[in-house]
C-alpha cells in the first residue's frame, strides 16, 4: 500500500517547476500571450527534451512512455506556472487518440514528431460532451462538414483530431475545406480555435471508436483537473506571500484572522483535491472500472474548488488583485477556461450519476 508520488514523480514535478521558473517566469508568460501563436515554441521544444511533450508517447516512438499519473504531475506543474504550452491538447488528448485508435503508419508518422515538440495536433471533441448551438460535424461522401468548437491548443496546430459521433478523423491543417479561426477565451495562456469544415477529406478515419473516445475524455478531464490544482497551489502561495508583505492598520494583514481563515479555507479545500487528482489518475492507469466515475467527479470537484480558491485569493489581494498588473489574474482566467472544457461541473455530475445507474 503506497498512496503517493514516487521519488521519480517528485523529481519530475521539481524538474518541470524549475524549468518554468527559469525559462518561463511570468514576465516571459506575459510576452508569449501577446504573441500571434500564443505558445512558447522554443520553451516547448526544450521541455520536449525533458520528456514533457512526449510524456504519453510510447518509448518505441521516441516518447517517455509515462503514466497518466505522471502526466497529471506535469499538468499540475504547468498549471502552477500558467505555462503557455499545448500540453493538454497535443500531449494528452491527441497523443492518447493516436495511441488508442490510430494504425501503425499514422502512429509512426505523428508520435515521434509530437514527442520532439516539432509538431502539434489539437482535438475537437467538445461536441461529444455537450453539443451547443451552431456546432457539430456531419460526414457525407465528399468529406466532413460543420463546425468543431473549443478545439484546445488549436492555434498553429499541424493537424486536428475531429470527432463525429463514435468516429475519429484526423485532418491536416492544410486540408482543402478546413479553416481554423481563433476563439478568444478569457484564458490567454492556452488558445482555443473554432474549426470550420466544408467537405474536408481526412487523412485517416477510425470508426466505432466510442469507447476509446470516452477513455480519452476521462484522461483529459483528469489532466485539466490537475492543471487547476497547480493553479490553486499558486494562488494560495501568492495569497500567503502577499498577506505577509501587505500592511494595514500598522500590521501585516496576515495577522488578521479573517485573512488567515481565507487562506486556511483554501488549503483545506486544496489538499484533499490533490489526493483526488492522484487517485483518479492512478485509477485511469490501473483501475479501469473505477476510472470513469473518478475522472468525472474529480473534474467537477476541482472546478468548484478552483472557482472558490480563485475568488478567495483575489479577495486576499484587495484592489491589486483586480488588476491586470497582478499575476493572479492569469490563474483566475486559466481556471475559468479549464472549468468549462470537457464538461462543466453540473454536466459532469449528471454524467457521474448516469455512470452509477443513479439517474
Amino acid at each position: 500500500m503506497d498512496f503517493g508520488l514516487s521519488e521519480e514523480q517528485a523529481l519530475l514535478d521539481e524538474t518541470v517547476r524549475r524549468f518554468l521558473d527559469e525559462r518561463l517566469p511570468m514576465s516571459r508568460v506575459r510576452e508569449v500571450v501577446e504573441s500571434e501563436s500564443g505558445v512558447d515554441d522554443e520553451g516547448w521544444r526544450a521541455l520536449a527534451e525533458l520528456g514533457v511533450a512526449g510524456a504519453l508517447v510510447p518509448e518505441a516512438f521516441g516518447g517517455a512512455g509515462l503514466s497518466l499519473l505522471d502526466a497529471a504531475v506535469i499538468a499540475t506543474a504547468l498549471g502552477h506556472g500558467a505555462a503557455p504550452l499545448p500540453f493538454v491538447g497535443s500531449s494528452v488528448l491527441a497523443t492518447l487518440l493516436l495511441r488508442d485508435v490510430a494504425d501503425g503508419d499514422v502512429q509512426a508518422q505523428w508520435l515521434p514528431a509530437l514527442a520532439g515538440g516539432g509538431a502539434r495536433i489539437a482535438v475537437g471533441i467538445a461536441e461529444r460532451v455537450e453539443a451547443r448551438q451552431g456546432a457539430g460535424l456531419t460526414e457525407a461522401e465528399g468529406g466532413l462538414s460543420g463546425t468543431a468548437l473549443f478545439v484546445l491548443d488549436g492555434q498553429d496546430a499541424d493537424a486536428f483530431w475531429l470527432v463525429c459521433g463514435d468516429d475519429a478523423h484526423l485532418v491536416r491543417a492544410g486540408a482543402a475545406g478546413l479553416t481554423a479561426k481563433p476563439l478568444p477565451t478569457i484564458d490567454r495562456t492556452r488558445r482555443c480555435v473554432e474549426v470550420g469544415l466544408e467537405d474536408a477529406v481526412p487523412e485517416a478515419s477510425y470508426r466505432g471508436v466510442g469507447a476509446s473516445l470516452d477513455r480519452v475524455l476521462d484522461a483529459g478531464r483528469i489532466v485539466l483537473a490537475a492543471d487547476i490544482l497547480g493553479g490553486c497551489d499558486r494562488a494560495l502561495a501568492l495569497s500567503v506571500a502577499y498577506a505577509t508583505d501587505r500592511k494595514q492598520f500598522g500590521r501585516p494583514i496576515s495577522t488578521f484572522q479573517a485573512v488567515k481563515h481565507m487562506c486556511a479555507e483554501m488549503a483545506a479545500a486544496i489538499e484533499p483535491s490533490r489526493s483526488l487528482v492522484w487517485y483518479a489518475a492512478h485509477a485511469w492507469d490501473a483501475l479501469p472500472d473505477e476510472a470513469p466515475l473518478l475522472a468525472t467527479l474529480c473534474k467537477a470537484h476541482l472546478s468548484d474548488v478552483g472557482h472558490d480558491v480563485m475568488r478567495t485569493a483575489t479577495q486576499v489581494h484587495g484592489g491589486i488583485g483586480f488588476t491586470d498588473e497582478c499575476d493572479l489574474q492569469f490563474w483566475f482566467k486559466r481556471e475559468g477556461l479549464s472549468r468549462q472544457l470537457l464538461g462543466g461541473p453540473e454536466a459532469l455530475r449528471a454524467h457521474a450519476a448516469r455512470l452509477q445507474g443513479i439517474a
Partner: protein
C-alpha cells in the same frame, strides 16, 4: 502508487471477514450506544475481540491488551471491515482512545496496573474533564483548582460539556494545582474517582433530546496526590500528547462513506409526486457533489496513511481532515433531510419518521462534532499558523506559549 495491501494483510482481512460473518451477530449495539456502556454484553464481546487481536491490539498483554506491534495498515483494515459490516468494534470512547495511551506513555507502574486492564476490558468507563464554563477554546484558562494538603489534592470548581460523566467510574481531568505559575505551567493531569464525596454530576440535555453531556461540580473533592499523572504542573504537556493521538482519529472518512451510502438510499427510496427524489436534478447534483467530497476525503486518508508509513511529515495536508470531514458529514445529513421534504422534519415519536429520526439526529450530532474537539475556527487557526506559517494574532502570542488551545473533545 500501489493500493494493494499485500498478501499477509489480505490474509488478515480474510480472517477478520470470516470472524465477522460468524460472530458479528453476537456483537452488542452500535459502538458508543449509551445504554450498553459497561454491560456484560459489551465486556464479553470485548474479550472475544482482544483474544483475536481485533481490539486493544497494540496495548501490551500485561495490561490486558493483545500485545501486537503498531501497524497503521492493520488498524485501517480493522476500521474498514468493522465499518463495512456495521459491527461494534468493541469498547471505544475517551477511556480507551485517550486515557490509556496517556497512561502507557506517562503513568507510573501502579497507575498502569490499576487502570489500564479494567479500562481495556470495558469495565471501567472514563470521562474527560477538560472544558469549563470559562475555558473552552482557550482551554489553558481553566480555573478548577486543586489545593495540596499533605498527600492529597482538594479539588474545587466546575467542568462542563463532560460527555458520559453520568455513567463513568473515573474522570481524567485538568486541574490548576499551581495558582502562581504561568497559565500553561500550573495545570496537573489528575485521575478522579467519580464516587468521591463532593462530586455532583448534573446532566445537560443536548439539542438532540438526549443527555449526552454533563456539568460536573467539585466541592472539596479529596484525591490522593498519587492520582496525578506525570509531575505536578506538567498536565498541559501531558494532555497535549494525547490530543495528538485523538486528532488522528477525528474526521474519519469511514463515517462520511457510510453517511453517503445512507443518503443515497434515502434519495433512491423517497418519492416526490410519485417520482424518486434522486430523479430531481437539483437533489442529484447535491448528492454527486458530496460524493466527490467523500471520495476526495477517502483518497486523502490513504495519502495520510502513506505519509505515516513512509515516516514523512504530511505538512498542511495533515491538518485539514477534522475540518473537512465534520462539515461534510453535516452536509450529508442535511441532504438526506431535504430529500424527504416536510417528512424530513419528523423526529423520534413519529411513526412516519424515517429510520427513527436518524437523519435529524445526525444533522444535530454532526454539528456538535464541528464544535467539539476544537471548533472549526480553531482548526482554521491551526491550519493557517502551523500549516501555512502565518502569524499568531498579536495579542494571543504571549498567552499561547507552546500549543494552540482548544483541541480537546
Amino acid at each position: 502508487m500501489d493500493l494493494a495491501y499485500g498478501p499477509e494483510y489480505e490474509t488478515f482481512r480474510a480472517e477478520l471477514r470470516a470472524f465477522l460473518e460468524t460472530h458479528g451477530s453476537e456483537a452488542p449495539g452500535r459502538r458508543g450506544e449509551i445504554a450498553s456502556v459497561g454491560s456484560a454484553e459489551v465486556t464479553a464481546w470485548q474479550a472475544k475481540l482482544i483474544d483475536r487481536g481485533y481490539a486493544a491490539r497494540t496495548i501490551p498483554k500485561e495490561y490486558g491488551g493483545a500485545g501486537h506491534e503498531a501497524d497503521p495498515l492493520i488498524a485501517t483494515i480493522l476500521s474498514e471491515e468493522f465499518g463495512r459490516t456495521h459491527v461494534s468494534k468493541g469498547v471505544g470512547g475517551q477511556g480507551i482512545d485517550m486515557l490509556v495511551p496517556t497512561l502507557l506513555e506517562h503513568g507510573t507502574e501502579a497507575q498502569k496496573k490499576r487502570y489500564v486492564p479494567a479500562t481495556v476490558r470495558g469495565e471501567m468507563v472514563w470521562c474527560q474533564g477538560y472544558s469549563e464554563p470559562g475555558a473552552g477554546s482557550d482551554l489553558a484558562a481553566l480555573q478548577t483548582s486543586g489545593r495540596v494538603e499533605g498527600d492529597h489534592l482538594f479539588i474545587n470548581g466546575q467542568k462542563i460539556w463532560t460527555s458520559t460523566a453520568q455513567f463513568s467510574q473515573m474522570m481524567f481531568a485538568l486541574i490548576r494545582t499551581e495558582p502562581d505559575a504561568p497559565k500553561h505551567e500550573g495545570i496537573s493531569y489528575v485521575l478522579v474517582p467519580m464516587d468521591t464525596p463532593g462530586i455532583d454530576v448534573r446532566p445537560l440535555k443536548t439539542m438532540t433530546g438526549h443527555a449526552e453531556f454533563n456539568e460536573v461540580f467539585f466541592d472539596e473533592v479529596k484525591v490522593p496526590l498519587a492520582n496525578i499523572v506525570g509531575r505536578r504542573g506538567e498536565g498541559w504537556k501531558i494532555a497535549n500528547t494525547t490530543l495528538r493521538h485523538e486528532r488522528n482519529m477525528l474526521g474519519s472518512s469511514a463515517t462520511s462513506e457510510s453517511l453517503y451510502e445512507g443518503a443515497l438510499q434515502v434519495l433512491r427510496e423517497e418519492r416526490i409526486d410519485g417520482g424518486r427524489a434522486v430523479d430531481s436534478p437539483v437533489l442529484r447534483d447535491r448528492l454527486m457533489k458530496l460524493q466527490a467530497e467523500t471520495i476526495a476525503n477517502k483518497a486523502h486518508a490513504m495519502r495520510l496513511l502513506t505519509s505515516r508509513l513512509r515516516g514523512e511529515n504530511a505538512g498542511v495536508a495533515g491538518l485539514v481532515s477534522k475540518l473537512n470531514g465534520c462539515q461534510l458529514n453535516h452536509d450529508l445529513a442535511g441532504l438526506a433531510i431535504d430529500a424527504m421534504g416536510e417528512g424530513g422534519a419528523l423526529y423520534r415519536g413519529s411513526e412516519r419518521a424515517r429510520d427513527g429520526g436518524r437523519w435529524q439526529f445526525q444533522y444535530m450530532f454532526q454539528l456538535g462534532l464541528i464544535i467539539g474537539g476544537g471548533t472549526a475556527q480553531i482548526q482554521k487557526n491551526i491550519i493557517s499558523e502551523r500549516g501555512l506559517g502565518m502569524p499568531r494574532e498579536p495579542k494571543a502570542v504571549k498567552a499561547a506559549a507552546e500549543a494552540t488551545p482548544g483541541s480537546d473533545t
